[in-house]
Amino acid sequence: MFKFAAEKIEIEPLKKSLEDDRAGAVVCFEGIVRNHNEGKAVVALEYEAYETLGTTEAEKILAEARTNFGILNAVCVHRVGELKVGDMAVFVAVTSAHRHEAYQASRYIIDEIKTRLPIWKKETYASGSSSWVNCQHLNDSAACQSEASHGRK
């Protein structure tokens, strides 16, 4: 199950939805808004998503994780809207019989989500300026190309 959330992510109901007597491992990943990026002090950010295509693509990623790693189940929720430093931006939880495949699947899901989902992040800096991450730099919009080609995550 994947969904976008406009409000704070509540993780307990998500973990509850994964309860399974066959599961010996639950691996949870929380992505948090940090106070800096590439040397700049970040005070707030905004996520924007193309939700219909994003949801379809995310469900594909979760299905791939189930197939590739033989896990029992996986859920993921990604925030949209305005977030502050310390807020949870993304949550991934994976259940499996043993921990090894749960760790692998969790890593796979978050990595694929970062590169494949149509989600954009606008950072606001302590200086008052803001920029779309991976699309522009404060003083050099052409820098996007080199940054994007490095596959930054």
Binding site: G31, Y47, E48, A49, Y50, T52, L53, T56, H78, A89, V90, I110, I113, K114, T115, R116, L117, P118, I119, W120, K121, K122, W132, V133, N134, C135, Q136, S141, A142, C144, Q145, E147, A148, K153
Partner: protein, 92 residues
């Protein structure tokens, strides 16, 4: 005497809806627009819009979706298509 008409070279206008996200939305100053175009492909449509609106991203930095599915840039435009140009993503 018959006049030869090259049908293939005829330009046909189609009406499409383009939805903008993130930096493209900022640069366009709108979240979506309906437009009539004679562009032969999605790539040609982006190039023309980029010139008109001064988009900073090059086509090869973007992906493109039609009717909520990723598609190839060389795809022809169909009447009523919902088109989204997808800037470099930054989720997670």
């Amino acid at each position: 005497m018959e006049i030869a008409v090259n049908k293939g070279a005829e330009k046909v206008n189609v009406t499409v809806t383009v939805r903008y996200f993130a930096i493209l939305k900022d640069q366009r100053g709108a979240a979506s627009e309906q437009l009539s175009t004679e562009a032969a492909s999605l790539a040609e449509l982006y190039d023309s819009l980029a010139t008109t609106h001064g988009f900073s991203l090059k086509q090869d930095q973007l992906r493109v979706a039609v009717n909520d599915s990723f598609v190839d840039w060389q795809e022809e435009l169909s009447e009523g298509a919902h088109i989204v140009f997808i800037p470099p993503v930054a989720g997670g």
